[in-house]
Symmetry: C2
Subunit: 251 residues, 2 copies
Amino acid sequence: MSKTAATPVKFTHIQCGDCPIRHRAVCARCDDSELASLEETKYYRSFEAGQTIVWSGDRMDFVGSVVTGIATLTQTMEDGRRQMVGLLLPSDFVGRPGRDTAAYDVVATTDLVMCCFRKKPFEEMMLTTPHVGQRLLEMTLDELDAAREWMLLLGRKTAREKIASLIAIIARRDASLKMADSGGSVVVDLPLTREAMSEYLGLTLETVSRQISALRKDGIIVIEGKRHITIPDFERLLEEAGDDSDGGFLV
Amino acid sequence: MSKTAATPVKFTHIQCGDCPIRHRAVCARCDDSELASLEETKYYRSFEAGQTIVWSGDRMDFVGSVVTGIATLTQTMEDGRRQMVGLLLPSDFVGRPGRDTAAYDVVATTDLVMCCFRKKPFEEMMLTTPHVGQRLLEMTLDELDAAREWMLLLGRKTAREKIASLIAIIARRDASLKMADSGGSVVVDLPLTREAMSEYLGLTLETVSRQISALRKDGIIVIEGKRHITIPDFERLLEEAGDDSDGGFLV
DNA sequence: TTTGAGCCTTGACCTAGATCAAACAATGTC
DNA sequence: GACATTGTTTGATCTAGGTCAAGGCTCAAA
């Protein structure tokens, strides 16, 4: 997810019209006639925190993007081991054109609003409106980069580095929305439970808890409550994360 | 990489003309005039086993696809820890349109021939020839699926399951090319050193070696030399890999 | 004001895989 | 034929993170 923030966000949704966020700025290249067919099939869906949106293997006849809230993509093995493979924040795209079955569980981690399109008309529109496909390619390439950074994290980082990385990733994505650094220190509210973090990081929730405590004891982060985190020195956090330099954020 | 083989291969390269493999079947939808501009900038490059094609961070002014041989994408941390994030077999695409710097080390694992295009003209052609972009989107979505399966492997599988998975993945990709199963048993030549396997799997090379020995002792695989593997019962291997059922291969 | 359900923390212990070390096999070079 | 070199195997030991278990905190329902 980390490099996504590095690319300038011009128009983030593949959607249009009256969406609550990024209203009207959605697609600079669309004229109204091109958008008409999309408008017709667009609809919103709301989900409560914890609700499963689709189960892996289920038929999925829509695509869409997150408007508000957070969703996750998760894979499960027969014996119950779970690995998160996607973390969807506002503006992220869900679903795969050209496939009618969900490959992963999609779960709303917080209360969630999605902007959806029926898949069939969306696919047709992709054929007639090339730049939507181009935009989707761009977004997919970003996701692939994020997945590859994630693979480095899963395969080679220590538990401590994993936690530091996750906090940095969330802080970075957050900051790109609300730019809330008051004098060098960055503030984040973790939108995930310890368990969800463990599924993201390929750890147990106990290890997540212990490493968060360790980072707190070492002054890398300051915690109020369970989820509200202040990062006094972001550079220091990035060092703990084992990322080379800034990961494309500062600078 | 695994699900890639599941989607029917219609025309695999984004390339055309006189490529050694899949010659002429490359792009059913292209007419000659559309391909002309690509032909102009197309060229082949050969690399020896072990040679680094591009270093992460280097300028990369071409895109291309593997014609013969195998290449890897690898990320490296400052202290030298390495994680493979891409395994490129013949027909796989290399490079990212819209970015001029390599994000990963690209290394030829075997002797390698690539079919390359200068990036600038390729990008221009993507704008004028939409279905090339569409094909690229399809390939990128496949890669993203593969990356996500890989994440499950890295985050949740045991060393034994990782090895079994890797052998299955390679066998599957191999089989889709040469369909070499003689009476239920499948034969593979591992195109990777133990070290490369360890970089793929997020393990040490010693653990890779030990687990291969263990699978051999248990009769899951039969080895001649170091690299030549016979799989007497592919289903059994898949069970060891912890994949749900067949992973989209048999059936 | 209890009770209970989620979510989180911490401790004690254990094990899968890492690390360190030695040696072997195949290949090429002088 | 001696000898590096590269890839691999195997053994002995160590440790990061998993597992099992007990509580603690918070909020909401009864």
